[in-house]
């Protein structure tokens, strides 16, 4: 069974016919070639596959592509504008918020979602807000530092 879907990803509209069981993360990676979004645990725990769906962070390994029909999706590839890194990307870089980088796209999109709702979070709020994202190598300290730094940059515009 094939189901037609129409999805806007990073501002571009795509139309495809997909198998119902195709997961959003595989649609993004394998059909659209947007491999910035990672598959970590594949069991809804780690957050590596986090993208924004209609503005809210979701784990794309736990959403069917057919459920995203009609939705607006933002992936890590959609954050930089005109060759300029997004303040979150810049802050992760400068604060050593990544080592291997595998968790980073998901971390950044979860942080993006958090900062949209709460532009001036406390350290505690950042830690709580990122509870759905696991990092196996950097340690959370610099990730939290990066998010707080990005929050300040974004507030100062």
């Amino acid at each position: 069974m094939g189901v037609p879907i129409r999805v806007e990803v990073n501002g571009r509209v795509y139309e495809h016919t997909v198998e119902p069981r195709l997961l959003l993360v595989h649609y993004l990676r394998d059909v659209l070639g947007l491999t910035g979004t990672k598959v970590g645990c594949d069991t809804s725990q780690c957050g590596a596959c986090t993208v924004l769906m209609n503005g809210l962070a979701v784990k794309s390994c736990t959403v069917l592509a057919v459920q995203a029909d009609g939705a607006q999706i933002t992936t890590i590839e959609g954050l930089a504008k005109d060759g300029e890194l997004h303040p979150l990307q810049q802050a992760f870089w400068e604060n050593h918020g990544l080592q291997c980088g595998y968790c980073t796209p998901g971390m950044i999109l979860a942080a993006y979602d958090l900062l949209q709702e709460n532009p001036n979070p406390t350290e505690e709020e950042v830690r709580h807000g990122l509870e759905g994202n696991l990092c196996r190598c950097t340690g959370y300290h610099n990730i939290v530092k990066a998010v707080l730094d990005a929050a300040q940059r974004m507030r100062e515009g």
Binding site: M1, V3, E19, P20, R21, L22, L23, H26, D42, T43, S44, Q45, G47, T50, M53, L56, A57, V58, K59, T62, V63, L64, V66, Q67, A110, D113, L114, G129, E131, G132, N133
Partner: protein, 288 residues
């Protein structure tokens, strides 16, 4: 990991969903997918057909009906957490919803899916039981209502019959001088409740307990109503010593669940600790 193959139908209305379920008796309902899809990926479930109810507008939203509140089955945990109506009239639900999983999970998971899935470690079942809620079902023979106390039949088994969908949950608006609390000991990896305690305390004008409810997630296969404890509290002044004494004397858990992480005996100990904390917090809020 892909889920096993299935055919997919998207229902535009409750009526269409019920028709689709009738036409495909093997089908499962798909709401937020945050319990069903992980199970399908692990091959713990392999329904040949999914009926997606996720876009049915009439299943969304929270309405104030005066003496009660109606919550559509598709309302997400995130919407529960942020609802002004609930914050004012039923803060127990947002307090529990905010403790579910993580923000990504709360963006997708729905109250209906949480209740119908009836995982013993879920957070909303004991809350709806404590509130004495009513579940509204629609099926091929029309609609019916089931009280929360008759809804949870066993581990992951509810009164929802094949072909039926849960459309809404109604909870009564609590009276004056009432305080509520939901406290949870969460599994450190999964975040599910090892023990979750929902408490409601209503005081008389003289400060004694007029009514109380205390229900648990996580310790038994279905949400557990500690009626003995709350019966024993009625009429007493709920100071700390009274609450502690009543819980120690009257909290008896018949058949606690145990697993590699927490034995039954340990869960019963947790239940005592969380019962005391939740009742005290509900009392403080009733007094405020």
């Amino acid at each position: 990991m892909y889920p096993p193959r299935f055919d997919y139908y998207r229902a535009a209305s409750v009526q269409e969903a019920v028709q689709l379920l009738q036409a495909h008796p093997e089908a499962k309902v798909l709401a937020g997918g945050h319990s069903l899809l992980p199970m399908m990926k692990l091959r713990l479930a392999a329904p040949p057909v999914l009926v997606d109810i996720g876009r049915i507008e009439e299943l969304r939203g929270i309405q104030d009906l005066g003496d009660r509140l109606r919550i559509g089955a598709l309302t997400t945990h995130w919407e529960l957490e942020r609802s002004d109506i609930l914050a004012r009239k039923c803060p127990l639900i947002p307090e529990a919803a905010a403790q579910i999983g993580d923000r990504q999970v709360r963006h997708r998971g729905t109250i209906g899916g949480n209740l119908v899935h009836a995982d013993p470690g879920s957070d909303l079942p004991a809350v709806i039981l404590a509130l004495d809620g009513t579940l509204h079902l629609a099926g091929p023979n029309g609609t019916r209502q089931v009280a929360a106390r008759d809804f949870f039949l066993d581990l992951m088994t509810t009164a929802v019959q094949p072909g039926e969908i849960l459309t809404a949950v109604e909870v009564p608006v609590l009276g004056e001088r009432t305080g509520t609390a939901y406290l949870k000991f969460e599994h450190p990896a999964s975040g599910y409740a090892v023990c979750g305690a929902a408490a409601i305390v209503t005081l008389n004008a003289d400060g004694t307990v007029a009514q109380a409810r205390l229900c648990f997630n996580g310790i038994t296969s279905t949400p557990f109503n500690a009626q003995n404890v709350t019966d024993a509290l009625v009429g007493h002044t709920p100071d700390d010593a009274t609450i502690e004494g009543v819980v120690d004397q009257h909290l008896h858990v018949g058949d606690p669940m145990g697993d590699v992480f927490a034995s039954g005996a340990y869960r019963v100990e947790l239940a005592k600790v969380f019962a005391k904390r939740a009742l005290k917090q509900a009392r403080d809020r009733a007094q405020a």
